[in-house]
């Protein structure tokens, strides 16, 4: 029931939003962090232009990256538990090389599981939020794709490999944030 007041400054200043806005904000922040790393990636990519790209060497390097990601998965099961999923457009954007090299059974299993959860979460979001979160996830995916391209030109570049792993981890965190949105309060 509405109370009676005489002064305008007696009106409630706090009006909580109808829904939790943090997941979309968090995803945008993650995307911003990933984007901040992009100039370094591109710089490394330009250096790579001078080096001969060899398919075999690329495969070896990406296997190494895959192993690094595998280590990450092994060391951080709570985050990994369903944290590597992507939305449909992101899945389509996966390069065949990376897909092949990252086909670790456990990784795939966990990724598929999280994909379902994130998809459901996105579907339940209001259209405006869904668009924003999807755009943020796409930005992350684009960063990863840029690094993949650079790795294709400079497969032995340790900096690129590290950036690739870091970007994947950023993506995992963003996806986990989307999946877990609304589950807990601080």
């Amino acid at each position: 029931m509405s109370r009676r007041i005489r002064r305008i400054d007696e009106l409630a200043r706090d009006v909580p939003p109808a829904r939790d806005l943090w997941p979309a904000i968090s995803a945008a922040i993650e995307a911003d962090k990933a984007a901040a790393a992009t100039p370094v990636q591109k710089q490394a990519g330009r250096r790579a232009f001078w080096m001969p790209a060899a398919g075999l060497a690329a495969s070896v390097a990406l296997v190494a990256v895959g192993v690094l990601i595998g280590k990450y998965l092994g060391h951080q099961p709570p985050i990994v538990d369903g944290s590597v999923a992507r939305n449909e457009s992101q899945i389509a954007a996966d390069s065949p090389i990376v897909r092949a090299q990252l086909r670790h059974a456990e990784y795939e299993k966990q990724r598929d599981a999280l994909l379902l959860e994130v998809k459901a979460k996105l579907a339940a979001m209001p259209p405006a939020d869904r668009a924003k979160v999807s755009a943020s996830l796409d930005t992350l995916q684009k960063s990863i794709k840029d690094i993949e391209d650079a790795l294709g030109r400079d497969p032995a570049n340790a900096l690129l490999q590290e950036l690739f792993v870091n970007s994947c981890q950023e993506q995992m965190r963003a996806l986990t944030a989307v999946r877990d949105s609304g589950r807990e309060e601080i």
């Binding site: 509405s2 109370r3 009676r4 007041i5 005489r6 002064r7 305008i8 400054d9 007696e10 009106l11 409630a12 200043r13 706090d14 009006v15 909580p16 939003p17 109808a18 829904r19 806005l21 943090w22 979309a24 904000i25 968090s26 945008a28 922040i29 911003d32 209001p126 405006a128 924003k132 309060e185 601080i186």
Partner: protein, 181 residues
């Protein structure tokens, strides 16, 4: 006027957030989101648009945190960003109003009504006000900002802010008397 009374508590969180601690920033978000949303909602009159502004304002705040001076009020700083965001959205939708003439009289921002009214009735009357008058009333009347602060946030002259508030008061009294909804 200092609308924020939790500045000290915020300082540690702000410092952590400035160092990239997202959890600390989430705490700040949880603490301030109600007030920022209330401000955006009253300025936009549209819950979805207000939510959009709130999201954008917090994202901008995160990016601008390194520039925030710890001595300032975080709440006021955040409100300034939120008001800017609302104004930007308005510019995008070309929904602007012509400013009114400056008044010759000075008024205190606080407005006391002749008789008590239902909170909902007052909110509805504020919602029915023209944009410029509503902005001034919300910032000065509801959130307690001085004319100079509100004018600075809105990007208008102090005199214009006073004029808008004067106009808002007149319209508000008139509409409350008529029982406008």
């Amino acid at each position: 006027m200092k609308p924020d009374t939790v500045v000290d508590f915020d300082v540690a969180l702000i410092e952590r957030a400035r160092r990239g601690d997202q959890k600390a920033f989430e705490r700040l978000y949880r603490e301030h989101v109600g007030r920022v949303n209330g401000l955006c909602l009253r300025m936009t009159r549209n819950p979805d648009l207000a939510a959009d502004c709130v999201q954008d304002a917090f994202i901008k705040a995160w990016k601008a945190l390194p520039k925030f001076e710890a001595r300032a009020s975080f709440s006021t700083w955040l409100h300034r960003i939120a008001v800017n965001t609302v104004l930007e959205k308005r510019r995008g939708s070309a929904n602007n109003e012509v400013a009114v003439e400056d008044p010759t009289e000075y008024e205190e921002p606080t407005m006391v009504l002749d008789t008590p009214v239902e909170e909902e009735e007052l909110e509805a009357a504020i919602e029915s006000l023209p944009q410029g008058a509503r902005d001034a009333l919300v910032l000065c009347g509801v959130y307690g900002y001085e004319h100079s602060e509100a004018a600075s946030m809105l990007g208008i002259a102090v005199g214009t802010c006073k004029a808008q508030l004067h106009r808002a008061r007149g319209l508000l009294r008139e509409r409350l008397e008529r029982g406008v909804r």
